[in-house]
Amino acid sequence: MTQTQTPPGAVTFDSSEPSATRRVVTSTAFMIAIVVTVLILLFGVLSPNGVFLSAGNFRNLALDSAQLILLAVGMTFLVGAGELDLSIGANVILSSVVAAKVITFVGGTPEEILAGDYSNAATAILLGFLAAVVTGVLFGIVNAALVNMLRVSSFIVTLAMMSAGSGIAYIVTGGINVSSLPREMQKGFGSADLFGIIPIPAVIAVVIGLVAWFAMTKLRFGVHTLGMGSSLRAAERAGINIRRQRVKLFVIMGGIAGLVGFIDISRFLTTNIQGHQGDALAAIAAVVIGGTSLFGGRASILGSMIAAIIPAILINGLVIMRVGSFYQLVVTGVILLIAVGIDQRRRAQSK
């Protein structure tokens, strides 16, 4: 540090910014990474022959957590902005149903499809993918438009949309899952691996997560998102178009839900209209555990991504140890409570 010359009478301004290392080490993302590492090592030691630490098992973990990572990334923007989306499970279902319908419609004759033999597989899958994402985005736009128009909290609006969305999925399908989708989408995408070991859905989740991290921390978009979550009034006074920002945020979440819907049918080759009930809460739990404040204003994309692996680790580890996987729900609940407690303490401290 060199002493700079200041004109007489001027007061030198000095402030000390925490170093980069200090910021990383004190971040919630870092702490949650330690928790995850400890969990992995613990299961590694406890599992018979250390199978938990095998490459194959890591592949399973990556594949199983990809969808929750994606949903948690989208949810981080919303929670950071002081919004919530409880309808993402319904969005995932509806997007996957629309995609599956498009794929079976375009793919070939009913007989061919029943035999799982698609004459137009490639076109059908591509159109199905587009249909899923477009449906997801439209779902998000409806959410945002309702919040903007009704001036009701997104909690209530998306609660209603959760019901409406899954209702529409039931109506479209008549309550029967669309199955026997083309195997190509599983082999080429849903269960495919990069370099023979890294599942494609996990690669997509990580890439989208990194893009989201950049947007949150380096772009004006991220500052406006967190500013809006911190004080809606301040954001308004700063001339930020809150309603438009809200539309963007729900579009991101919706688009991600659509992508997750497509990944889901690619993995299992069938829709799952009875499933995804817990998606929204699992994503919100991961977001809060990862260090995002439930009240908005502070968010950590990386924290959400790391925390989103926890349920998969617990389920997988407990199954390997032959303990019922339902304990996973209990453990996740406890971790969530701890995370909320930490968030509350931080708020109290900074007051």
């Binding site: 301004f13 000390s16 925490p18 911190s230 009034r233 700063a238 001339g239």
Partner: protein
Amino acid sequence: MDSGFPPAEHSAGIMPVIETRGITKSFGHVQALRGASLRAYPGEVLALIGDNGAGKSTLSNVIAGVHSADAGELILRGESVNVSSVRHARELGIEIVYQDLAQAPDLSVVQNFFFGRELLVKGPGRLIGQVDEAAMRERTKEAMSLLGAQVPSLTAPVSALSGGQRQAIAVARAVMWATAAIVMDEPTAALGTKQTKMVYDAVRAAADRDLAVIFVSHDIPKMLDFADRIAIMRHGQVVAQMPTAGLQLVDVLTTMLSAQADASEGEAA
């Protein structure tokens, strides 16, 4: 009626930075402003005083683009302007410090300084709205040292700072951005002695940069000492505007509270 206003020291033809003419504003049945006319000159601190509910905040908010006037004119450097929003007022160089500061507590000092008008990097990152943190931090540092204001950290969230520090940031931010005028709505309410002095120093520094500062306050004795001129509001009108030099507290109180005071009486004081 406003022709009787020009104070002696500005009769040499200096143009006001901001002038309001006959501004009216109603909220439902409440007539908050009934033809408020006021002038603020470059380099001066104009104290805006008046009883509770006289319309000081409403007039401040009209000038800063928060409210739009029902009728009347806002004149910026001789030109009539139609300020449609806070953003628009800012583009015209008018800044406001709200009584509640309107900061985003979770954002850092730097982010609050530039909230809504972030500096972007040069190069391709600009197209996607990448912010230039280093440049913003530098400018914030400059603005803070200009005021002699101190904060422990520029990257810590504003919520971690004391009330006085937050106030200082709000003032420093307004001073940094303003190119014409700053409106401050009771910026020293709820501040300690030392912090109050800091704000007064900051306001004076802003005026010395040739900005017009409109300073809403209830501390009349202090205003007589600190401000260059004083504008007194009653029932939604500015009933008197005059230089503070030689002015007695009792005269001000009489004008402020008397039933039938008008502009010419105030001028004569």
